[in-house]
Amino acid sequence: NEETVAFSQYPRPADTPQWNSDKPKLKDIRIMGYSMRTIDYRYTVWVQFNPNNFSANFEDVHAGELYMVETDPNQDYNIYNNTLHVWFYKKIL
């Protein structure tokens, strides 16, 4: 019963909301949020993105999100920065 995963992504022009945050033009994209979803969690990293060569730099993480479906189905409590989930990284990465 191998676990299946869904990958989504969303671009942003800046770290804080601005008038074009919803629909940045390619040339204005500076950050890409990559999400990985399984039946148990959603894990997202917002990383630096270069629109000229379409490269994402996973060494340059601007922010992260981690939601556990069972305890937080509505994704209201981001535990990305909780030290407790270091074990979690080891498991998924």
């Binding site: 869904a6 629909k23 922010a63």
Partner: protein, 424 residues
Amino acid sequence: GDGMNVLFIVVDDLRPVLGCYGDKLVKSPNIDQLASHSVVFSNAYAQQAVCAPSRVSFLTGRRPDSTRLYDFYSYWRVHAGNYSTMPQYFKENGYVTLSVGKVFHPGVSSNYSDDYPHSWSVPPFHPSTEKYENDKTCRGKDGRLYANLVCPVDVTEMPGGTLPDIQSTEEAIRLMNVMKTSKQKFFLAVGYHKPHIPLRYPQEFLKLYPLENITLAPDPWVPEKLPSVAYNPWMDIRQRDDVKALNVSFPYGPLPYDFQRQIRQSYYAAVSYLDTQVGQLLNALDDVGLSNSTIVVFTADHGWSLGEHGEWAKYSNFDVATRVPLMFYVPGMTTSPVIPGERVFPYRDPFSHISDFMPQGQSKKVVELVSLFSTLAELAGLQVPPVCPEPSFHVVLCTEGSSIVRYFNVSEEKDGCDDTFRCF
């Protein structure tokens, strides 16, 4: 499903607010009826929660990092690679491929042609009233016309006396009759506009959702630990006349609670309006006697936030913006073949039908829209496109999403679901 026709229904901005997904408030009897003969995926996700990138992704079977379309302003064949599309593949395999309404996103991202002639056998149909979509057609309390977000209308007063989705249903039914006569196998894609904003729908559908029954989202606040980069400031609805008049602060608002409930009320009403269009389309499939030889796919390009996390619209990575309905009806596979002449999809009136939804097969597997291309190829008995190499810009035909037909046998699923409400 070898050699079967394909009816591909894609809905703009529809999150799984449907009876068959466990929503207790919505009236969606026709889509629920389709679900009762289908395998329904309860964890299906779009690759990006915005129209053009999501549609080009699932229609080419490539992820946005391969189509290199994250906005609305490039055409993948020029900008990334000359990727074959799902309809193009069916066309190359002997199908007549037809597009009605909003399948590709119009404009640059589909070469101002819905990728015709590559993808389609005949020029795609667009409803003539589509051009009025953002005009001032919403009657305000003062009797004047506005371009509002919340826009229940008297259809007889609308330009042309109709609405785009009504025209799309009429054209799709006409095409089904033509295909029936010509006895050619077809891939018919029907793209409905609602519940995309403006929430413009026949006003009678409001009766299904009295405002006193409409609640706020369960979590209508911006979460404390949400990174600011993750937040979507819902710019598009702010430009609508009724929202503009509220003078809501940027970026976090919030919208007045009463107006939040009005938006939710109209989203639900637009979903029931859409359900009647799907119901007429499927009823017509029965009428032309093709329900036993046509695969039906029902899905959406992404979801829509209805106030959760203090957000509206799509434009984020939240589940409410990326999760979509996804179901496949395959005669003889997801349901036993019906006796010729027996109706599979009799029209159900949401104003009178009492929901009696019985699940057929609910899969909880986490799946992606990028898998649609390979899945439909397998269901129709075509050779499944090969998995893409990394990178694949130079490869015309391959897919980055593997077929999910292997998950159709829900009974094998460890925690398969036979009780919709418990599952959802």
